[in-house]
């Protein structure tokens, strides 16, 4: 098992109200899996993904990644964990406007001990894979939504992470671009990457190997797709 979540809970506390975004989540994810998470808005999908991506901490429960108990790590160790193991894809791309596409992708490598020439080479390969090599020197604002999302995917894969997390990667794209993105994700999964994707599109969820449905912070159904 690559990932083992047990009794994960996430509470949001403000002065007046207490929201339970996640409630006793139990989830195992194997190496090489392609998991789709579905559910109505506000059911806790992004919260779960953020906890899986360690940019949010559960208020209770255990999160094991490989042999490591991540809930026990401090901020610095978690930062190291993220740069070595994770790739992130967001619905709204989250490219930095001030950086060129090339530089945005390189950002995933600069906090790792990788030489400049090697970084260049890996960025070029990643751009080739998603088909945006010809836009390397452009700024995000000069690209279409589909191109931006492909750049974001390039950024997520350039570090060859063990786990790719995608929060509604096709949410802001038209059908054609959405299909392109799904094609890339499937190829990555075929090559061995573990992918967890949140989506509102049943057809895209069907492309994954497994699908879990959430409701009110809980996992209600887990189905294995026959592919």
């Amino acid at each position: 098992m690559l990932i083992h979540l047990s009794r994960i809970q996430r509470l949001y506390r403000s002065d007046e109200v207490e929201t339970t975004a996640l409630h006793d989540i139990e989830l195992d994810i194997a190496q090489g899996e392609f998991l789709a998470i579905m559910g109505p808005s506000g059911c806790g999908k992004s919260t779960l993904l953020n906890i899986l991506g360690t940019i949010d901490r559960p208020t209770a429960g255990s999160y094991r990644f490989g042999d490591e108990e991540l809930t026990k790590l401090n901020e610095t160790a978690l930062a190291r964990f993220r740069r070595e193991n994770l790739g992130y894809i967001f619905q709204s791309f989250n490219l930095i406007d001030e950086l060129t596409i090339e530089e945005n992708i390189e950002l995933a490598l600069i906090y790792r001990n990788i030489s400049k020439p090697e970084r260049r080479q890996r960025v070029a390969q990643a751009m080739d894979r998603v088909g945006i090599a010809h836009r390397a020197r452009h700024y995000p604002s000069q690209l279409s939504g589909g191109q931006q999302q492909r750049a974001a995917i390039a950024r997520a894969i350039v570090g060859e992470p063990r786990l790719i997390l995608a929060d509604e990667p096709t949410g802001n794209l038209d059908t054609e671009n959405g299909t392109q993105v799904m094609d890339i994700l499937q190829t990555l999964n075929d090559e061995g990457a573990t992918i967890i994707m949140v989506t509102h599109s049943p057809s895209h969820a069907d492309l994954a190997r497994r699908r879990v449905d959430m409701l009110d912070g809980q996992i209600v159904i887990s189905v294995r797709n026959a592919i």
């Binding site: 992004s46 919260t47 953020n50 991506g53 940019i55 949010d56 901020e75 610095t76 930062a79 190291r80 993220r82 740069r83 070595e84 994770l86 992130y88 967001f90 709204s92 989250n94 930095i96 001030e98 950086l99 950002l107 995933a108 600069i110 906090y111 790792r112 950024r155 929060d167």
Partner: protein
């Protein structure tokens, strides 16, 4: 790392030139003002500190409190104490006289004025001064010895290799030939020897004939002392009243002492030489001086300017932090640790601070010469000092302006920002800090504006206030030092004969409403009228009138009550308690009339 920071900054400069410009400009202004004012303050605090053993050097001052006058302190003292000082105080290592005198050198028919000091042969030893030429121990032992500054040597001879050359010097109307026995190199500045061109020995006959050396209560020049230890200064100060009682008091009509009640009207004190610059703002006849609280105030303003510059940067950076939130969150998600981000933002602040520091230095280089020319003070940029101070300032302002924004930025929680598309501007605390900073910035700025307005109003009041006489068309010049009353009269006649000159007069003071109360000459006239000297006997006080009254109407001066006095005359019109001076006394006791007025 550094490359990444520089790239980030150049990117910001390209994308947000206004932000970067304001940021750097504000800080540069603060640093520039801080550096400039610090140099001014340092200059004012450095008077006489450059001498070897500066804290063992001191000056002896006199304090007068004549009945019916305002007590005052004077640095121009009698040299009568000189022979007794080392005798009575074992703490004193050396003591020399130091008298300012103007020296005139005639070259190709033209007079050049030099600022000279008459002193004693021990002077160079006492101040541990070396000569670039000549022997400091013997340079002033010859009565015709003369030590030149390098600049004076260049002016007079056109070269600095001038040992043994002779030079004819005109001093107080007397010509004497001197032989160059030394050339002074660089001297500690600012201080005692600023702008001093020539040093010459006290003429030997002066010690036996000049009132300076003979009578207590004469006012001659400075008396400089060197003590064995710094603490000795205080010890000697405590015993000076006994010294006055023992050495300076006498009987009512003896000529040498202060008189029977000497201790009541007269006192001595020793002022550490390093403190004279500030001390002299309270001292009559002293050289350049400054009010310490004014200088401290200037330093404070410099510090405030620096703080304002930093506050401005913190403001701008925290306000912009929100805009960088997405970048921070993303970098964190991609594996940047908080420390990495902190160093990145701190580094950016440091680079901004560096650029601002260098720009501030450039500003300082423009301001300092301007200040020097406006104030006439020889403030200059000491680059060794700057090399020490500027890195500290850059580091300090970088830390001050970068710490808080860096902490805020690196502390953002990526999940809240990326998932919720919420754009925090640093939260409520940051807003409060920003408000506080803005209020502080504006308060200080408003204070400075108010102060400037007040100073401006005062200056304009001073400029336009009626002074009780007509200023336009009036020329005021220095009177030639001549004891010969006929020479003065002749000069007045010559000036009077210049076309369009309506009247000429001599005066001790320039006309102003307070002239009469400001000064008093204390004369003691002996019954036979043959000698006179300054003294402090109330019954013999005469007060000199500021100008010859005949000129008053031309200058628009009218007496408030009473009548105009006698027609202009150069004769001394002195009233004593009992009556007029005898006419025979007149040529022997000319008043030193300092100002010449032409109307």
């Amino acid at each position: 790392m550094i490359a990444a920071i520089l790239r980030s900054i150049s990117r910001q400069a390209r994308r947000h030139p206004l932000y970067v410009g304001l940021n750097v400009f504000g800080l540069a202004l603060g640093i520039g003002v801080f550096l400039t004012l610090t140099l001014v303050v340092r200059f004012e605090y450095s008077f006489n500190t450059g001498f070897v053993d500066a804290d063992r050097l001191a000056r002896m001052d006199e304090h007068w409190s004549e009945p019916g006058t305002t007590p005052f302190e004077s640095a121009d003292v009698s040299f009568r104490a000189l022979p007794f000082l080392k005798q009575d105080f074992s703490e004193i290592e050396d003591a020399v006289t130091f008298t300012a005198t103007t020296l005139n050198v005639q070259k190709n028919g033209q007079f050049t004025h030099f600022s000279g000091r008459m002193t004693d042969p021990e002077f160079f030893r006492m101040f541990s001064l070396r000569l670039v030429q000549g022997d400091p121990d013997t340079a002033l032992t010859r009565p015709d010895g003369l030590v030149l500054s390098r600049r004076a040597a260049m002016t007079v001879f056109g070269k600095s290799d001038v040992l043994g050359k002779t030079i004819e010097i005109n001093r107080i109307g007397q010509k004497n030939t001197y032989s160059v026995t030394g050339v002074l190199g660089d001297v500690p500045s600012p201080g005692l020897l600023d702008n001093v061109d020539m040093l010459l020995p006290v003429p030997p006959q002066d010690r036996v004939t000049r009132s300076c050396f003979l009578f207590w209560g004469s006012s001659c020049g400075e008396l400089l002392l060197k003590f064995h230890k710094h603490d000795d200064i205080a010890a000697v100060n405590a015993r000076l009243s006994d010294f006055v009682l023992h050495r300076a008091s006498g009987t009512a009509d003896d000529q040498i002492s202060i008189g029977a009640d000497g201790k009541r009207v007269y006192a001595l004190s020793v002022v550490p030489l390093k403190e004279t610059h500030f001390h002299d703002s309270q001292v009559e006849d002293a050289g350049s001086s400054a009010e310490q609280y004014v200088i401290d105030g200037i330093g404070l303003i410099g510090l405030l300017a620096l703080i304002l510059g930093c506050a401005n940067t913190v403001n701008l950076a925290t306000a912009r932090a929100g805009l960088r939130a997405k970048e921070v969150a993303l970098r964190k998600t991609l594996g940047a640790s908080r420390f990495m981000l902190f160093t990145q933002f701190m580094g950016e602040a440091m680079v901004f601070s560096c650029i601002a520091g260098l720009s501030g230095l450039a500003l300082c280089e423009i301001c300092v010469p301007a200040i020097a020319s406006v104030t006439g003070e020889a403030v200059d940029i000491d680059y060794y000092f700057i090399a020490l101070l500027l890195p500290l300032v850059i580091l300090g302002s970088g830390l001050a302006s970068g710490l808080y924004p860096s902490l805020i930025l690196s502390g953002y929680n990526p999940a809240t920002i990326l998932a919720a598309a919420r754009m925090p501007a640093g939260g409520r605390k940051a807003t409060m800090l920003r408000n506080a900073l803005v209020v502080a910035q504006f308060s200080v700025a408003i204070c400075i504006v108010i102060c400037t307005l007040v100073i401006d109003r005062q200056t304009s009041f001073l400029r336009h206030a009626s002074r009780g006489y007509i200023q336009s068309g009036m020329l005021i010049g220095q009177q030639m030092h001549s004891k010969d009353i006929e020479v003065q009269r002749h000069m007045l006649d010559m000036l009077q004969s210049i076309p369009n000159v309506t009247s000429v007069t001599l005066g001790e003071l320039q006309p102003n409403p307070h002239s009469l109360t400001r000064t008093g000459f204390f004369m003691r006239v002996l019954r036979d009228g043959l000698t006179c000297r300054w003294s402090g006997i109330a019954s013999h006080q005469v007060t000199e009138k500021p100008t010859s009254p005949a000129c008053w109407p031309d200058a628009g001066l009218m007496p408030h009550t009473g009548r105009m006095m006698a027609p202009p005359t150069l004769s001394l019109k002195a009233e004593t308690a009992t009556g007029m001076l005898s006419s025979t006394a007149r040529p022997l006791c000319p008043l030193a009339l300092k100002n010449l007025m032409m109307l």
